[in-house]
Symmetry: C2
Subunit: 81 residues, 2 copies
């Protein structure tokens, strides 16, 4: 069966996010003022061929740990559908 894994990878809350800060400055320059924090991460979508949802989740988890996310600076969340 084919599963889609949506992986959201965000910088850890404890860390500064300079890219987010730059975007916040840009939004403010464009006149969009009501935003007080911006954080930017990655969104990765995997098409996984697996026997069941649990196996798909395991594969997505392995991919995240081995390649997609850097646990020193990022946290990830996996959603299988």
């Amino acid at each position: 069966m084919n599963f889609i894994a949506e992986i959201k990878i965000m910088p850890l809350k404890e860390l500064l996010d300079p890219q987010g800060k730059a975007v916040m400055g840009g939004l403010s320059n464009l006149g969009i003022k009501n935003i007080d924090d911006v954080r930017i991460g990655k969104h990765i979508q995997l098409n996984i061929e697996a026997a069941n949802k649990e196996e798909a989740k395991k594969i997505a988890e392995e991919a995240s740990q081995k390649l997609l996310a850097n646990p020193v600076m990022e946290e990830y969340m996996i959603l299988i559908s």
Copy 2:
């Protein structure tokens, strides 16, 4: 009131995603073989100060159109919480 807008920005389905293709190659080299497509986009989280959910959504929509997403190459989805 404070709202959090989660904006998922992905490359359009019609377009190639070379970054995704590279990651798919990397996963395959690591021995993770059951993945037949990878697409990589951005995940942006905005803290919005707004009177209500509709206003927060409008601000997130404006930010996406004016700065965050490139409609020629990307599609976006907004989720307010």
